[in-house]
Symmetry: C2
């Protein structure tokens, strides 16, 4: 639904999205639904993705070059893997209108903020990160309600134009997100624990399970409903995206990993020494967080995520 | 639906379930649905649970003592925490009919097999483990379709009566499960990787996230949709049950934990040395397992487990 005040609020009339995977396609669909009068232009490096995007009518036009996509845009949102952001910024520099605002959706912010402001020193760069996604990638994985009720974190540079920040915030509210602002370094620390470390651990355990000699792969699959299958969902996420995340947010990820490893060693020790009380106490303490996440609308309260029981 | 041949197959006419939590109550509901002519008797150590079980009409009778529950039973299934099994077995010894078969649903099998056969040396003990569950516990969490399409692993002792094993297998098939038989030690190794290690890691990471100084608890909750929230579901599982599992399956859990830690160190090193190829290769390899789990009907193919997007 288009609320007139909000449309005035964002004030964008032509929005370009570069990178038409899960996030880019979802964003286009969500903007189309919330703000139907905005002109939408898309571009992706991959000809196949562009063809799919045209077939799905994700935008009013899908251009063959990034430069063509941004000419006349008043907002450009980069939705490519984290480490591709700087190249895309360089490739659009010459075509970008001087008044255009540049934003992105990358999962780490400090490095992106630095590289985008370096590549586009005369433009207003307002990075953002919608904390929403699924394990699927590509243009066909997108859906308009992906951001509904999820948080989008805006990480403006210290000297950012407050009006530009407000317009980016309004855009995300229009597509259903809740908006928070913080500095890029703090964002990277928070997301290291709520997203990057969980992915790293999921990838590791799925790798560990694949490499066993005494337990077959078929056994791992058959008995995965004991808990393992949850990790396989996360570990099915896009390899390029996640490689870039870990390289880009290296320091915060290594810091969180260090803490996790210490805590895991303590638990290992409790098991080795039959310290049932230590185990029981930790296992009791961790229950409360789940309750809060559900109370705050950040997960499905149904048992087992509401999975279908065939 | 009752299929006459299957009813003949199991041949049980009076089944006792001791422990009326998630698994015990689900089993009663599932047997009631699949084999409506069987008499069902339940008992739980907790008066509150017994009262709830009566209110929910989980069985034809809920008895105040374990002994009363098993008198005249031809099958007794223990559905209590792993380390409570031996006590329950001792408490029913004097009332147990000599022909009764004893089974259980515990998550680890070697220790239970040893303790049940020690406590009931003159009875046929046929342990089993349905690999199915949710993060909820207690009698109100149960539902009849919990075992549908899931595997139940039977771990009979070497000298087990094949007829008794076949009857237990038929019972689980009747309630919708797929049945596999293996020795208890191998079961414990397989489940250490597909269930116990994932739970241990989930408990650890949720603990790590709760203990940070630079990231607030409220931030952890708000941005949990980045992956963390999945771990909180598993880490909301019953503390007593899981304490018992780790103490009972200590050796296999420590072995898997060791392998996991080595693999995690390798990944940590790859991040530290910016080895993007190593990351990319692992992240590509882990995708295949998810596909197989979905193909074999062991998880919901919908993105994000089919979670509701509000
Ligand atoms: N997935 C999530 O859960 C999630 C959540 C929040 C934020 N993010 C962030 O959102 C961004 C996109 O992620 P995604 O999940 O949408 O990934 P995705 O589905 O893999 O889509 C990325 C798209 O960008 C294209 N691309 C790569 N390099 C490009 C370039 N130089 N110029 C133009 N297009 C290029 C890719 O084409 P090719 O496939 O041909 O390379 C692909 O179509 C990433 O920065 C990620 O960190 C992701
Ligand atoms: N949850 C799963 O995902 C899952 C899956 C497969 C197998 N299992 C196994 O199934 C068994 C039961 O687990 P659950 O999830 O059903 O746990 P639950 O919901 O906590 O239920 C266990 C019940 O047993 C009762 N109990 C404890 N000690 C007892 C005793 N000595 N005599 C009689 N009743 C007693 C408990 O009462 P109080 O609460 O008053 O102690 C509780 O009502 C465990 O061995 C577990 O390893 C669980």
């Amino acid at each position: 639904m288009l609320s007139p005040s909000a449309a005035l609020g964002t004030g964008f009339s032509r929005i370009s999205v570069i990178g038409l995977g899960l996030i880019g396609s979802s964003l286009l669909l969500a903007i189309r639904e919330a703000m139907p009068t905005v002109t939408l232009i898309g571009h992706d490096a991959s000809p196949d993705v562009r063809e799919t995007a045209r077939r799905l009518k994700l935008a009013d036009a899908i251009t063959d070059t990034a430069g063509a996509a941004v000419a006349d845009a008043d907002l450009v949102i980069l939705c490519v893997p984290v480490r591709a952001m700087a190249d895309v910024a360089a490739s659009i520099r010459d075509d970008l209108p001087p008044e255009a605002i540049i934003s992105d959706v990358g999962s780490c912010k400090a490095e992106i903020l630095a590289s985008l402001t370096a590549a586009l020193p005369h433009h207003r760069v307002i990075p953002a990160h919608p904390v929403a996604g699924t394990e699927n990638s590509g243009p066909e994985a997108g859906f308009a309600s992906l951001f509904t009720g999820r948080w989008c974190i805006i990480t403006p540079p210290a000297e950012a134009d407050p009006a530009a920040v407000a317009r980016i915030a309004d855009l995300w509210r229009e597509v259903g997100a809740l908006v928070e602002t913080m500095d890029a370094a703090h964002h990277d620390l928070v997301l290291a624990v709520t997203s990057h470390l969980p992915h790293l651990i999921a990838y590791t355990i799925v790798g560990t399970a694949s490499d066993l000699e005494d337990v077959t792969r078929s056994e791992v699959i058959k008995y995965s409903a004991g808990g393992f299958r949850d990790f396989t969902r996360i570990a099915a996420s896009d390899p390029t995206m996640w490689r870039d995340v870990f390289l880009s947010n290296k320091d915060a990820v290594l810091e969180m990993l260090q803490r996790f490893s210490e805590d895991l060693s303590a638990l290992q020790r409790a098991i080795r020494w039959n310290d049932g009380d230590a185990l029981f106490n930790l296992f009791t303490r961790t229950r409360a967080i789940r309750r809060s996440i559900i109370e705050e609308g950040q997960d499905d309260p149904a048992p087992d995520f509401g999975r279908s029981h065939p």
